[in-house]
Amino acid sequence: MASYLVRRFLLMLLTLFGMSVLIFVMLRLVPGNITDIIFDSAGFVNPAQKARIERELGLDQPIVTQYVNWIVGLARGDLGYAYVSEKPAIEEILPRIPVTAKLAVLALVFSVLFGVPLGVISAVRQNTPLDYALRVVSLSGLSLPSFWLGLLILMAFVQWFGWIPIYRGSDNLWQELAFLSIPAAAVGFRASALIMRLTRSSMLEVLRQDYIRTARAKGASDSAVNYRHALNNAVLPVVTIIGIEAAFLIGGLIITETVFNIPGVARFLVEAIRWRDYPIVQNLVMFIAIVVVVVNFIVDMAYVVLDPRIKYEE
């Protein structure tokens, strides 16, 4: 197990190195750079002033030097200066991470809390009106774009309550979570639909197994069969999909943060890409890559806990 962990750790480092090169090169292949964009709001481009800004920002240096400077800075914990705000990149990124983290966790919690039980109910009550209704709900969750759903929620609140649930920020954690719960529901709806469908199909497969029949034959109650015997075994693919969804969530968050006006990292990342604010984009994408790699690692480790048959051998 120990050597497996070391191998996994080295693989993670290799993945992150590959990501860093990819991010760095791809960003510079996109047409236009920060100096073009800085001039855009002035409605013209002055080549001499542009060259001076490029010098100031170190963009006139060879690409390899720029890459090495970034990685060395990263290793020292120095993320560089944001081109647009002219502040240390860390000051721009750090305050936004907790907002998005809370939203992402809430969305995941929402999707699991709704997806798993409803998926189980749908499987247990297969081909009943309740099952049909839940399948319609899950299908609509997969089909409705989250920005549309978000706008619909906003319009409904304005129409019925004369109040709009956009983000206001609060020092009180519970108040903030209450604000975030509505956008979290909007973004988590899609993931919950996916989890619901997967739980249902996985449960249906398990419920047909011999050991379930044996459990019923020895007189175990329905709830014990469904939740202790069946769900325990059906949950493994669901855990995998939760891990994948956690990575995909960032895409949904971009839209939701825009519609609900949440000052999180997802929306900020898109904005930084638009501005070609390299220090922000590079560091944020690296941060997201690290989160995804770590989540995948946690999911792999979770298999061992959930299924004792799985062992990562030497």
């Binding site: 002035a42 002055n46 002219e86 006006n261 000052p263």
Partner: protein
């Protein structure tokens, strides 16, 4: 007692019958809650050419003089003192002397002096040895400024190379604040220091900009508000819904389009909404260096294909203005009257006749229905650019030009256009002040960096300078109209329309007057108060 009651009742009756509203006493306090439509590029007004920066940050600063914030029209007559107590032209029209207020302090406590005025214009004219402005989009405004002389701490004289009456109007624009000498430009871009009614508090990108009342403001009793917050909301649906829900006290300038206005007024019937010209033109840009557009005949044919009224009807429900280069009346002071406008090439009312002439030109050049000229119509990826570009492509088809829409990432639009990497484009151009010097020098003179098509006609330049020198308004207007004619004949950036949009505010927002002939000059907010 009975007499008193009778008197009060009589006054009340008279007031009611005559429609007299008792003057409201201004109330102090409260935070004005506004939204911002996008991520503003920086806080430095002098380094930007966008309402996104002027609107929030104008309240931090003062000008030497200012367009009266309580009058709807920006004219020479509506210019009032600001940091200058008074001003005086010399008899040659080349020396404009300002007597400055005493006792004015920057927000960091340092005294404001004439040196600050000199410093600001040294930066703008490239005479500042530190030269730390990243960009200077309105350098052309000050091309005639020789220097700023100071006489003690409270007198500054603008010395011009030749007479230019319009300088005063340019100084009165929201684009022309006085900057502090002792603060670096980098700080002005991120946390500006001014003398204005509101002090900068914070600027979190993509989130919020906050200002608080300046208790030491030199205008006694102003501002009324305790502060202003600008929440950045990029999604238009969200921000309009938020305004309707009462989350904000005012919309962003001209953010409510004509179709949206119906929704806003039906959902928030008490909101005050005013439709006004934006002085932002939708215009056609043709690159004369890109073949085959180097041939003036093709450019003429394109101008003849335009049916401006169709653009106006589709894009603004008929509300936008048909115009030449200058904003038309009644709000514009310099635009051609309709009967004169119709005599310009491409402005005739018989569109079919124009297009027949256009087709004839194209056919003489070897193009026809079976062999159309294939072009790309470039525009930036924003709806207000894309929508007219689509109409343009449809209209060009009428003269055997087959256009394909090329949507350019909005952040690199100006870079591409400046590099001449386009053949035909659809562009929007905002004008800061309703004065020919601003519009003509900025967009059509040979030396302007913001002359996107690099149009250059020395004769037109001479005419622009001639009108600029002219102090007699009637004579100046005649020269301006001659310039208009020449620009139309040369097809220098044909104007398709001047747009009108609405700005809305809640009924309890008092003391705010929306200017009608520029969106850039009325955001000082020092007279605004909340009747809550």
């Amino acid at each position: 007692m009975r007499e008193k009651l009778v008197f009060v009742a009589a006054v009340g009756f008279l007031a009611a019958t005559l429609g007299v509203t008792p003057a409201l006493a201004e109330k102090s306090g409260g935070i004005l809650r506004l939204y911002h439509r996008d991520n503003l590029p920086s806080a430095s007004i002098h380094e930007e050419a966008t309402i996104s920066t002027v609107q929030p940050f104008m309240s931090v600063f003062n000008n030497l003089v200012l367009f009266d914030q309580t009058k709807k029209l920006n004219t020479v007559e509506s210019i009032v003192p600001d940091l200058a107590e008074s001003w005086k032209w010399d008899e040659t029209g080349t020396r404009l002397t300002f007597k400055l207020r005493q006792g004015v302090k920057w927000h960091d406590g340092k005294p404001f002096t004439a040196k600050d005025v000199q410093c600001t214009w040294n930066k703008l004219t490239g005479k500042d040895p530190a030269d730390d402005l990243r960009k200077n989009p309105r350098a052309i405004w000050w091309h005639n400024l020789k220097e700023v002389e100071v006489n003690g701490d409270h007198e500054a004289t603008f010395v011009l190379k030749r007479p230019q009456p319009a300088v005063l109007s340019m100084l009165a624009s929201g684009y022309t604040p006085v900057y502090p000498c002792h603060i670096k430009s980098q700080v002005m871009r991120t946390a500006p220091i001014g003398t204005g009614p509101f002090k900068f508090v914070e600027f979190k990108r993509g989130d919020i900009v906050r200002f608080e009342r300046n208790p030491d403001y030199f205008k006694k009793g102003r501002p009324y508000l305790d502060g202003i917050t600008w929440k950045v909301i990029e999604n238009r649906s969200t921000r309009i819904l938020a305004f309707v829900a009462g989350e904000f006290d005012m919309t962003f300038s001209a953010d409510v389009t004509i179709p949206l206005l119906k929704d806003v007024t039906s959902q928030a019937p008490k909101a005050v909404c005013e439709v006004a010209p934006t002085y932002v033109s939708t215009n056609l840009i043709i690159n004369p260096k890109a073949a085959p557009f180097s041939d003036p005949k093709i450019r003429k044919a394109m101008a003849l294909a335009l049916d401006r009224q169709v653009f106006i009807d589709i894009l603004s429900g008929g509300k936008a203005d048909l115009a030449g280069v200058m904003l038309p009346g009644p709000v514009g002071s310099w635009g051609m009257p309709p009967e004169k406008l119709q005599t310009l090439p491409g402005y005739g009312t018989d569109i079919e006749k124009n297009r027949a002439e256009g087709r004839k030109i194209m056919e003489s050049l070897g193009y026809g229905q079976d062999k159309p000229l294939k072009i790309k119509v470039s525009t930036r990826n924003i709806a207000i650019y894309r929508d007219p570009a689509v109409i343009l492509i449809d209209q060009l088809k009428k003269i055997h030009i087959d256009g394909e829409l090329e949507v350019i990432d909005t952040s690199i639009w100006h870079a591409k256009v400046t590099r001449g990497e386009f053949s035909v484009g659809l562009n929007l151009t905002g004008v800061g002040v309703d004065d020919p010097d601003v519009n003509l020098y900025e967009n059509y003179s040979c030396d302007s960096e913001r002359n996107l098509t690099k149009y250059c006609n020395k004769e037109v330049d001479a005419l622009i300078e001639k009108q600029s020198r002219e102090a007699d308004v009637a004579k100046r207007r005649e020269i301006v109209w001659e310039v208009e004619r020449r620009l139309a004949e040369d097809l220098a950036r044909p104007i398709i329309l001047y747009d009108r949009q609405a700005t809305c505010w809640q009924p309890f927002v008092k003391g705010f007057v929306l200017h009608q002939n520029s969106i850039y000059n009325n955001w000082r907010f020092e007279d605004v108060w909340l009747d809550k």
